[in-house]
């Protein structure tokens, strides 16, 4: 696999070799080990594990809440990106800097903070509780935690694209009589969509695998509020290594496919 563009630039063999060795030792071999471990299962055994009611429930929950959280971020993130790029207003710099907080904050800290906020006797949960709304220990709470943790992704992928869209385009459309919604639909949306999808997919992939922030607020009820990563932990603690590994393999395949889609999308954008 070598076709160099510029023979003058050295270090191809060295850096590629190092990259491959490092990745192999740290990432591929361990992951391959998991596949080998799972390969002691036949397809039908694998299917039996994956289609057990409890696993299916966790699967639906993890993918469902991650999907909704990613969608929510699609809206909130677009709002943030739009406001940050297009307007100058008091506090803009602060918001811009703080958007990345969920990424920099340890997930366990996010978990206990959100639980303290949304538990039935928490600062916000108290009022919700009076209204008869339960937030913590329900799928709603999980969605909230995932929305928090994946907040930066959509904002950060859309921001640069939005900044690059020439305003003349929108102005031209407006001059030609397009209404704001039409401008959005026909001018902005097509330009933003690939970046938006990338951010969405990133948030979704991360949301499916998220653990630390969720376990504190989830309630962890089998079949109701038990997420996939927690189910892996539970299976491990019951010495069910094979079951844990089967779920792990499934999740890994899903995240690889998602990433591949993101990369294809980005290449499509680059060729655009």
């Amino acid at each position: 696999m070598s076709r160099r563009t510029s023979p003058v630039i050295p270090g191809f063999g060295l850096t590629l070799g190092y990259t491959l060795v490092y990745l192999s030792l740290l990432v591929f071999l361990p992951l391959a080990g998991m596949f080998i471990y799972a390969s002691q299962l036949s397809w039908s055994e694998f299917y039996t594990i994956i289609s057990a009611p409890r696993v299916l429930a966790a699967l639906k929950l993890s993918f469902g809440t991650a999907f909704i959280a990613a969608l929510l971020n699609g809206v909130i993130g677009t709002l943030f990106a739009w406001v940050l790029v297009r307007y100058r207003f008091p506090g803009r710099k602060v918001i811009d800097a703080m958007i990345d907080l969920p990424f920099a904050l340890p997930t366990a800290v996010a978990g206990i903070a959100l639980t303290a906020l949304y538990a039935p006797n928490g600062f916000v949960g108290r009022f919700a509780n009076d209204l008869g709304i339960a937030i913590a220990y329900t799928p709603f709470g999980i969605t909230l935690a995932l929305t928090f943790v994946t907040l930066p992704f959509v904002v950060r992928t859309i921001q640069p694209v939005l900044a690059d869209i020439p305003r003349e385009l929108e102005e031209a459309a407006t001059c030609l009589g397009a209404r704001p919604l039409q401008v959005f639909r026909y001018v902005l949306l097509p330009a933003l969509l690939p970046a938006w999808l990338t951010g969405f997919a990133l948030a979704f992939a991360r949301g499916v695998g998220e653990y630390g922030s969720v376990i504190f607020i989830a309630g962890n009820m089998p079949g109701k509020t038990e997420i996939l990563p927690l189910l892996i932990m539970v299976k491990l603690d019951q010495y069910d290594y094979v079951g844990a590994t089967a779920i792990g393999v499934m999740m890994l395949v899903v995240s690889f496919v998602l990433l591949l889609l993101i990369n294809i999308l980005q290449r499509y954008v680059a060729k655009g």
Binding site: R3, T19, L23, A104, T107, G212, L236
Partner: protein
């Protein structure tokens, strides 16, 4: 992005309109609900019993040893991933070869793998029931439930960060400057230190900051391989969980606020290096 706006159209655009005001206000509202509230609650809970108590829980021996272990994990994983990131970015962005996009996807993989899986794979490899388990026991080598396991798990989850930041930056910068240096007779390393490094130093910084933030805060992967031995294999985030489970809420939130402050410092550094990158790119464009 231009900050000075003089053309009449732009002025009219910047004039307050209802939709504009509504969008800004809702952004502020979201900001407060989603970011300020969680942040505030950590500090409020931490300071519930006064400042003295707050500091006491931070200098408690178990907290100190957790801090040391966290710093150790950062100190090992960040430099290793820094070197890896530079190497990976170099071969991906300055050269062309088949299978490049697969390689990029694989570099990204640890980012979207669940941290629990990252822990699980090391248990399957190095646990007593795992592939190398018996061999490790015979040779009296402890990997999981000890510092090496924690470092490995941290390394795994932080692999992509430096590379991810450098690849687009180095692609944007192209290879002309390096080629010029080579043609002027610079050796490979001279070219690297005198041309490439100055060009990417802020990007490097940015990647290192992200990597450090993740390494400090990793919970799931580390939790699987830690063994939770108090004072020995607990990192700061694990220590937060333990305190939280010990009815020691104030201490849990105190240590959490220490992590929060570290995260805020990381954000400041990130913001700073980002602005330097932009400045450098703009200068380069001119």
């Amino acid at each position: 992005m231009s900050t000075t706006s003089t053309s009449p159209q732009q002025n009219s655009r910047n004039a307050p309109s209802w939709s504009r005001l509504a969008l800004i206000l809702s952004a502020w509202a979201m900001f407060i609900i989603f970011l300020v509230l969680p942040l505030a609650i950590v500090l409020i809970e931490a300071l519930k019993m006064g400042v003295a108590h707050f500091f006491e829980s931070m200098i408690e021996p178990d907290a100190i040893s957790a801090l040391k272990l966290t710093l150790l994990a950062v100190a090992i994983s960040v430099p290793l991933n820094l070197v890896f990131g530079v190497a990976a970015a170099w071969c991906v962005s300055k050269h062309d070869f088949y299978g490049k996009s697969v390689l990029i996807t694989l570099i990204d993989l640890p980012f979207s793998v669940s941290p629990i899986i990252a822990g699980l794979v090391y248990v399957l490899l190095f646990g007593a029931q795992g592939f190398f388990g018996e061999w490790l026991i015979e040779h009296d080598i402890q990997i999981i439930f000890a510092v090496p396991g924690i470092v490995l798990a941290t390394l795994f989850v932080t692999v992509p960060f430096v590379a991810r930041e450098l690849i687009p930056l180095m692609q944007q910068q192209g290879t002309q400057e390096e080629e010029a240096a080579r043609l002027l007779g610079a050796s490979g390393w001279q070219m690297f230190w005198h041309v490439t490094v100055p060009n990417i130093k802020w990007g490097l910084m940015y990647g290192v900051v992200l990597c450090t933030a993740r390494a400090m805060g990793e919970f799931g992967a580390v939790s699987v391989v830690s063994g939770h031995i108090r004072g020995f294999t607990n990192t700061l985030p694990l220590h937060v969980e333990i305190l939280y489970n010990e009815y020691n809420h104030v201490a849990a939130f105190s240590v959490a606020s220490l992590l929060l402050i570290l995260a805020l410092i990381m954000l400041l550094l990130k913001q700073w290096s980002e602005s330097r990158i932009n400045r450098q790119l703009n200068n380069g464009d001119e």
